[in-house]
Symmetry: D2
Subunit: 145 residues, 4 copies
């Protein structure tokens, strides 16, 4: 297991933030956002982060690369509910060879909603581990953490 | 619009039945199964129907065919809830060239849960409309409706 | 069956439009947006429409009302793909007693992606059909179609 | 963080196993099961485990208890694909007061598909942490790990 679970709860530690509203389809019979739905929020935020960096994910895929998810971790703190606006903060934690960790802090206003982390591997179109393209490596490693 | 909404509510009109339990992830904050989740139930039942016919869907895809969904219709009658076992009855309604309609009757015990219909087109690996392979055509057209 | 499938393909016939990007989680192994995911797009658009009208859905629920989905219909025209931005146009088609139909036109730029319709019933907190609150009735019936 | 990531990859360490087929709706444009879909597989398996123990989850909820998910972790090893049958092994790892960890081993035939863990808290109908009912405590603590 390589994911580092020591995730910052301080929004100022993060590089990028993205707002997502909770859909009704994402709630469950406990009246709150279902725990699996958070994983899609992390993904949407990664995609928006790459776009913000000027490198939309579709471009990466068009070049024959994919970012496979190797591990995912979420710690739930306060339940998001239907129509809540969740602010997802993210940053690249570290890059080692062809894999890297991203951390996430989900906020409901001033309240911590959840913490998360994902480990990714750069893979080619056939899903085999490969070296990150230079621009991605530079992009990810050059970010202030 | 080509889908025929006159769907039988009599289980004996159907060729095949498949049971699916409602997952907690499929419920919503109204305490019932979310209306979009029914669409996945129709799909799972189609797949099991093809398997039962001795032609698993993966085989169809391996031959370079796919069954694109052209239209979907669901009428909700009685709410399914978490852990309910829904019996999904299905049949091929009719086949015209490269497209065909399937009907669905979802039961909660003796109670009608929902009615549904899907229109499908046979497409090649690039998603273009194509003639159905002979075995599929025979399979679908030969079924007692 | 009460849903009227004669849905306008002209964006100027609609009252409201909302943009949604296709998440990677919403795609399938055919490389396109999965057909069930469209249903959540219709729902998100309804919610944004009510918000735009100054009556967020949460307010409706807080007053003890819900808008149950009685029927849903989608006709797929052109596949949306990962990261595509889909513009969902919507309008209230008609209101009869405690139920009403909404129509949807999903566009990918200038291309028609899908048409949709949903039938809704106003229900109380226990899920029983009830009269629409006056403000909702006025809101829905007063809209230019 | 309390989840223990040292998860056994040996099926004989587990108490219960449940088979789930990958739905087409659960795949993504990389041609494999989407990483968020695994979380629902863990949940379905928990539910079946409780049923197998003679205590269906609905009974727990009817008594006013819920099992909130506090943390979730998944490590992906080999991609499951459409129509694959995944065998999900599970066991209760440990119980401390009102919270407990469950471990999961997902197999594709003889191959390890994924490892997982969830931390749960026993909550009352309002979502507040509460003591586990006696039968649940006995049930969970008495299991051979």
């Amino acid at each position: 297991m390589r994911v580092n679970l020591d995730i910052s709860a301080d929004p100022t530690d993060y590089s990028f933030a993205h707002d997502i509203r909770v859909r009704f389809a994402e709630t469950d019979a406990m009246g709150v956002m279902h725990h699996a739905s958070y994983v899609a929020f992390l993904e949407e935020t990664r995609v928006e982060y790459l776009r913000d960096l000027g490198r939309p994910y579709g471009e990466l895929r068009a070049e024959g690369f994919d970012l496979a998810v190797l591990e995912v971790f979420v710690q739930y703190r306060a339940s998001a509910r239907f129509d809540d606006q969740v602010t997802v903060h993210t940053r690249v934690r570290e890059m080692r060879g062809a894999s890297f960790q991203m951390d996430y802090l989900l906020m409901l206003g001033e309240e911590i909603c959840a913490l998360g982390a994902t480990m990714h591997g750069v893979v080619d179109a056939r899903g085999r581990a490969t070296r990150a393209p230079a621009w991605l490596k530079a992009l990810l490693s050059g970010l202030p953490n």
